[in-house]
């Protein structure tokens, strides 16, 4: 079974078309890296796959279930990490994660295990607004993987992290099937099994990573 199957996917905001005719297949356990300049439709694609936005055209299957009809079956099986951490600023890391563990049906013991793994246990009881962006991002990673999702949807997951922290986070985000939005052609291509290059909502590149080189990706931004 493929983890992702898109056929002619389209999405508009009013009259502005954000995604048009995007088709691809991603096998389980593989990584899809999505490149494209700002406004190319990367975030829209991730939000559709995460059931946060309805597709307007085409067919979308995520983990074998069709969206938007069976979205309820997909929820709880995807881990979503976007630009915003999706955490409450006035709650501590532990309070935030306990709350989301209950919502996502994850074991609460996992909260401390994850916090320990990402080296934020020491600050687990301070309100997030007192923490640095990098620390908050690490906690956001915890939130995204709390329920051990089958599919990870990551929007530039290491953008706010220094190299050491990025290293710390890497193993948590290196499991299962992944869709990663990236601005970094070298790193992105290194991680990718399949590449999707978006420009103006259209798929300019949709190919196995082996057939794509850095110059192809750079052309998207040109």
């Amino acid at each position: 079974m493929s983890a992702l199957e898109l056929r002619g996917l389209g999405r508009a905001y009013g009259e502005r078309v954000a995604l048009r005719e995007v088709s691809l297949t991603l096998e389980e356990g593989r990584t899809l890296v999505v490149f494209g300049p700002n406004g190319a439709g990367k975030s829209t694609l991730l939000r559709i796959l995460g059931t946060l936005l309805r597709p307007h055209a085409g067919e979308v299957r995520v983990l074998g279930d069709e969206l938007p009809g069976d979205a309820w079956r997909v929820r709880g099986r995807v881990g979503f990490l976007g630009h915003d951490p999706l955490l409450y600023r006035d709650l501590s890391a532990r309070e935030n994660l306990r709350y989301f563990a209950r919502l996502y049906g994850a074991r609460e013991t996992r909260v401390d295990a994850l916090l320990g793994e990402l080296d934020v246990l020491g600050r687990a009881d301070e309100p997030l607004r007192t923490l640095s962006r990098g620390t908050v991002q690490r906690i956001a990673v915890c939130r995204a993987v709390l329920h051990e999702p089958d599919l990870l949807l990551l929007d530039e997951p290491t953008a706010n992290l220094d190299p050491a922290a990025a290293e710390l986070v890497a193993p948590l985000l290196a499991r299962g099937t992944r869709v990663v939005a990236s601005h970094d052609p070298e790193r992105g291509l290194h991680d990718a099994d399949v590449v999707l290059g978006l420009r103006g909502g259209r798929a300019e590149i949709a190919a196995p990573a082996a057939q794509v080189d850095v110059a192809d990706v750079r052309r998207l931004y040109g």
Partner: protein, 223 residues
């Protein structure tokens, strides 16, 4: 149910920590009593006037709470995080309405004694159970409709304006019923007869709007 409890607990914890809604609502109510004192130029109120002042004040104070209800969800991504969870969307409505209900009760714990001390001529004394019944029923109505109006307004540009504009006309029946029911309780000549039809209307209102909000709320979360 478990989800609603989790969301409610989170909201109450946030409110305890940030104290964004309840203290402001209570302070607003107190200030409004003082303003009524000068605006009406009366030392004490009784009967219909007392009931009217009390309910108008509580209603306007409630609007402050309505405006705060969904702000954290909208600005800190709570909606998205909630929508990603494999839970019933209506739990959000139940939790928010229960939270607003709790805020209103907390505000009344301060505002009602203050009202009795500052403005009320006759003491409520014997009519206390009836007053409590009206308060609970009215709070439920305000909580349900306020939550719905807050959710409707949260995605608009001028949400602080839209929420009261939508909620206040919808709450006119609550004001009518609560004020009518309370007026005889606050009468100068001691508590008058308590008309049973007004609590019944309030209960009917609560049930109708509770079911209605339950049915339509999901559509406000979807995208």
């Amino acid at each position: 149910m478990r989800t609603a409890a989790a969301v409610l607990r989170k909201d109450l914890r946030l409110e305890l920590r940030t104290r964004e809604a309840v203290p402001a609502m209570a302070l607003f109510a107190l200030t409004t009593f003082v303003i009524f004192h000068f605006g009406l130029d009366r030392r004490s109120l009784e009967g219909e006037l007392a009931a009217g002042v009390l309910w108008v004040t509580l209603l306007f104070a409630a609007m402050l709470g309505v405006n705060r209800l969904f702000v954290a969800e909208r600005e800190q991504g709570g909606f998205d995080a909630f929508l990603l969870a494999p839970v019933d969307r209506t739990a959000m409505f139940a939790a928010k309405a229960a939270g607003l209900f709790a805020y209103l009760c907390a505000v009344e714990l301060v505002a009602i004694p203050a009202f009795v001390v500052l403005l009320l001529g006759p003491g409520p004394g014997a009519a206390f159970p009836e007053l409590l019944l009206v308060l609970v029923l009215a709070n439920a109505g305000v909580a349900v409709v306020g939550t719905l109006a807050g959710a409707l307004a949260i995605q608009t540009r001028a949400r602080d304006l839209i929420a009261p504009l939508v909620a206040l006309p919808l709450l006119v029946p609550v004001v009518i019923a609560s004020a009518r029911a309370t007026a005889p309780l606050l009468a100068e000549a001691g508590a008058g007869a308590f008309p049973a039809k007004w609590p019944l209307i309030l209960a009917l209102y609560d049930v109708v709007f509770g079911l209605l909000a339950y049915a339509v709320f999901d559509y406000l979360l979807e995208d």
